[in-house]
């Protein structure tokens, strides 16, 4: 009930059905789990590309962009980055994933609303936006323009990672979509 301290925020979420709210909770927990699991099984020593992660949490965002809509997707990103930070992240990593995540989810929502792109386009666009947001944050924090030279490499591998996560997200979406329809979310 802590949310009640922010009436405006609470009011937005009060409009949701409880089925939708619980789906939001499940997806948030899932994205947090995927995020933590990824840093455990694929640490920097396995993929030695600075600032790059495959981004399995992206699977959850893809599903929520279609099933839940704009605001819940942004909420998932905010809660995930804040929770990863709270469970022993460092401040720079937090700022990077926050700017990257918000850029990614905005681009994915815009691409969804054009209705021209499939899962794969959304995922690749979001991953590229994540890379751009991250490098932007790094350039602002260090005050170095040089980091822009790293942009092409990071964007290219991010696109590949985005296509990979989209492939993984397709069965997840199908299952979540079928369940949510039968529950009337």
């Amino acid at each position: 009930m802590r949310l009640m301290q922010f009436p405006e925020v609470a009011e937005v979420f009060m409009k949701y059905s409880s089925a939708k709210l619980s789906l939001l909770g499940i997806l948030t927990a899932l994205s947090l789990t995927l995020s933590v699991l990824e840093s455990l099984i694929l640490p920097f020593s396995v993929i030695p590309i600075p600032g790059f992660r495959i981004g399995f949490a992206n699977i959850v965002i893809l599903v929520s962009v279609y099933l839940l809509g704009a605001l819940p997707s942004v909420a998932i990103v905010l809660v995930r980055t804040a929770a990863v930070f709270a469970f022993g992240g460092n401040l720079t990593a937090f700022l990077f994933s926050l700017t990257g995540g918000l850029c990614a989810v905005s681009v994915m929502l815009i691409l969804r609303n054009t209705r021209r792109f499939s899962f794969f386009g959304l995922s690749a666009g979001g991953a590229a936006a994540h890379a751009v947001g991250q490098i932007g944050a790094a350039m602002i924090i260090t005050g170095t323009w040089e980091l822009m030279g790293y942009l092409p490499v990071l964007v290219w591998i991010s696109i590949l990672a985005g296509l990979l996560t989209a492939t993984l997200a397709v069965p997840v979406y199908k299952a979540a979509d079928a369940t949510s329809r039968s529950r009337g979310i």
Partner: protein, 169 residues
């Protein structure tokens, strides 16, 4: 804003059970166009940087190592004609980062940062190369020095120079 509410952000739409927009689940042609556009656009800042670097290098008369912390320059050493190896260190509480320079280049000798990427970047010997340590917000870069236009050219010449040498630390 109406389009944002497609997936039923309001209780009314939950009740009415509007058909939800379902995405395409297969890679389609518009995806390919999008991916190619992004991939090409990502090259743009790099190309501009290369051009600026090429222009600056042609005017260069020497090179200098510049160390910045939080974007502020704290140390600058003229490398061309440097007689002996010099070291410089910056302390952050109990941790420190040590920089070395000689006539052929500059490098991060040691750092107490967790991932050591700045150290592994190795020796920087060309204009535009940089070693970046994000935890300490330290950047070591090589800039061209030109007595007639000192700082302005330097600021630009470094941009996007050595593509693969640039690493987060």
């Amino acid at each position: 804003m109406e389009a944002m509410d497609l997936s039923g952000d309001k209780k009314t739409s939950d009740l009415q059970k509007k058909p939800r927009y379902s995405p395409g689940l297969a890679f389609c042609r518009s995806d390919l166009v999008l991916v190619l556009c992004i991939a090409v656009l990502a090259l743009f800042p790099y190309t501009v940087g290369k051009y600026l670097q090429a222009r600056a290098t042609s005017e260069q008369s020497g090179m200098a190592a510049v160390l910045t912390v939080d974007g502020k320059e704290v140390w600058r050493e003229e490398l061309t004609g440097l007689a002996s190896e010099t070291t410089y260190s910056v302390e952050f509480g109990t941790e420190e980062i040590v920089i070395c320079a000689d006539a052929s280049g500059a490098w991060v000798e040691a750092s107490d940062c967790p991932d050591q990427i700045c150290v592994h970047t190795g020796k920087l010997s060309k204009v535009g190369q940089a070693a970046v340590c994000i935890p300490f917000r330290v950047v070591l870069k090589i800039v061209a020095t030109n007595p007639s236009q000192p700082d302005e050219v330097d600021a630009v010449s470094g941009s996007c120079g050595g593509l693969y040498e640039i690493l987060f630390g």
